[in-house]
Symmetry: C2
Subunit: 373 residues, 2 copies
């Protein structure tokens, strides 16, 4: 039976399938030119149905941010998974269970303490857990600086137990870029960081098999992937206003939006109220530090066309407030009319919902998503 937007309970997530598929194709084509594998980060979609489009081959590599993701995708037949968040000892039993199921699950660490814990665990449990060492390419988060000699010590500990596989970095700092030139420089910073660390290890007699880099802005900007074996990215699948603000996509490329209805109209105050508050939009204010602050999101009509001069300026739990900028007027809407809100950060907005209503030419599918750890 044909489903219409008007039959959906609001607020809910809507995906423009054509834009989504276009985004996937753009990344694949970009990386094909370098002959480097894409290892998509599934933390953005957290959906079996969405993943089937992102990774047609279940033996191909993917990236996850939680063991729940690893377990869920493994249960669906994905066998090559990198868990790209620093490991702690308590999580090793779940890692082992996946490895015992035949999953090639690779974990991440950045200290001797972790390396020794994992080595000891593998020795006690007579197992092999492949490990990557996290490199900090931009002072953004975890990881070791590329020239830090501790990398050699950690790799040596891991290598002695047959656990060392390679190096991983993520240029989270690229989210602060605003020009194509900066993005190209950041992409090179990511590449050169792991290549330099791998060279240092090579001099110490340790071979690095995996050189993994990636963030959506750098992955789409890179002009050189020499020495790199794989690129990770996640938010390119949907894109969002933060990515548009960085300049790595256009507003029209944003495949994800929150469908909402008008619940109140205060024309004298230039305000519309909608049934999408922060529970539906998330509290993410990622565009606040960009040149154009989109508030809690920009506003489209139900067909997905941007309504100029409007944004969600504030959000309570189940109320959003739309205001218009000087020089613009509120659209001529009635109570109950449908609007669509473009998200600041697709990962955060999607996480507030249990699934996606996916619009293609002739129907609306539902793709469930999962959360938790």
């Amino acid at each position: 039976m044909f489903t219409t937007l008007g039959s959906l309970q609001t607020p809910c997530l809507v995906v423009d399938k054509i834009a989504f598929l276009h985004n996937l194709s753009r990344m694949e084509k970009h990386l094909d030119a370098f002959n480097v594998a894409l290892r998509p980060h599934l933390k953005t979609v957290k959906s079996i149905a969405a993943a089937s489009y992102i990774l047609a081959d279940k033996q191909a590599g993917c990236t996850v941010s939680t063991l729940k993701e690893a377990e869920t995708f493994a249960a669906e037949g994905y066998t090559n998974i990198t868990y790209a968040v620093g490991i702690t000892e308590d999580k090793l039993q779940r890692v082992l269970a996946l490895i015992n199921q035949g999953v090639n699950l690779t974990i991440l660490l950045d200290s001797m303490e972790q390396a020794m814990l994992v080595s000891q665990f593998c020795s006690e449990n007579e197992c092999t857990i492949p490990c990557l060492i996290e490199i900090d390419c931009d002072g953004h988060r975890a990881g070791l600086s590329p020239k830090n000699k501790e990398i050699v010590t950690i790799a040596t500990i891991l290598e002695s137990s047959g656990l060392y596989r390679g190096l991983l970095t993520h240029a989270g700092g690229s989210y602060a870029c605003s020009t194509a030139e900066q993005l190209i420089q950041f992409a090179e910073k990511e590449r050169s960081a792991v290549v330099a660390a791998a060279s240092m290890l090579e001099e110490a007699g340790i071979t690095t098999t995996v050189l993994s880099i990636g963030s959506t802005p750098t992955a789409l900007s890179t002009q050189n992937l020499d020495g790199i074996t794989e690129v990770r990215a996640g938010v390119y699948t949907f894109f969002d206003l933060v990515m548009a603000g960085i300049g790595i996509c256009d507003i029209e490329d944003i495949a994800l939006s929150v469908l909402t209805r008008v619940t109140g109209i205060k024309r004298s105050e230039n305000k519309l109220f909608i049934d999408a508050g922060w529970m539906a939009l998330s509290r993410d204010r990622g565009t606040a530090s960009q040149a154009f602050d989109c508030g809690y999101g920009l506003v489209c009509d139900q067909a997905g066309n941007l309504l100029p001069g409007l944004k969600v300026t504030s959000a309570n739990q189940e109320h959003g407030v739309i205001e218009c900028e000087p020089g613009f007027t509120l659209p001529d809407v009635k109570h109950g009319d449908l609007l669509r809100i473009l998200p600041n950060h697709a990962c955060a907005t999607a996480a507030q919902h249990s699934g996606y209503h996916v619009l293609s030419y002739d129907d609306i599918e539902f793709w469930p998503r999962f959360g938790g750890w």
Copy 2:
């Protein structure tokens, strides 16, 4: 079997049951002095198990922010529910289904357009949906100003179909208060707004049965509830750093925290990394506009004792970064050690999780929670 904190998968929510019960008792005692009913807002807990402590009597009134909450609590036997978000026409079928189940479900509106839609719906479906008119007491959100004559028009439309019950307001602006005196003034603003609107209606020959006000800060500050029939509040059950910043609770009263483990240590940079990022903590930065900005949360040891000078200064999806203020030093922790993060906003943080691990003297219970619309 005895569960320990160390056996829990992190990140996860932890509730201090003693603090939670103390918070419930504090609100009940405060309102008992005025002999006015409390209609707790269940949007904070969204949990059947938690609600059983908040509302022992299932015939007593409660408040919800979504129809999913109304349906879930109705299925559990709660029969007196106010859905306190402006109604839209598409939601009336679900409202009707609940009323047909015997639930006394009251809805909210603030326009003639909505009043006519609801009246027409009730006429067509031969049903009675009790309605409250939303009053705007502080220019914070939706609702009509107390002296707006449209209130009389709306009440008249509703009254002619037997649907009018009363008036509701919420002093969301009280969240910007920082002194006891301001809070007392805001509480009086809430009270006088609905009392004034009810007087205007009385003069027009319309009797108001329900005069509903409330927010946690005003409910706990009020010194006069003359004319008021019920008080609504939700976050008082857990409290949070925003409430502590307003001065309506102490840090020790905060019953909710996120249990997390140390995933990385960069002592030279004064940074700890934890496995609670914004997915576990939420993106809520409600303390950013207060005198003391708590970042993404303050830090306690696993027993719940505040560690002075520390806060979560940044958050990625599954990484939190703890830094310490000048004059303080990082605690002597190891990889995998447990910490607890106090939330800025309990409603937002709780919404990121599927349940609460509830600590009492001798064991840990699990209270599931639900989400969605």
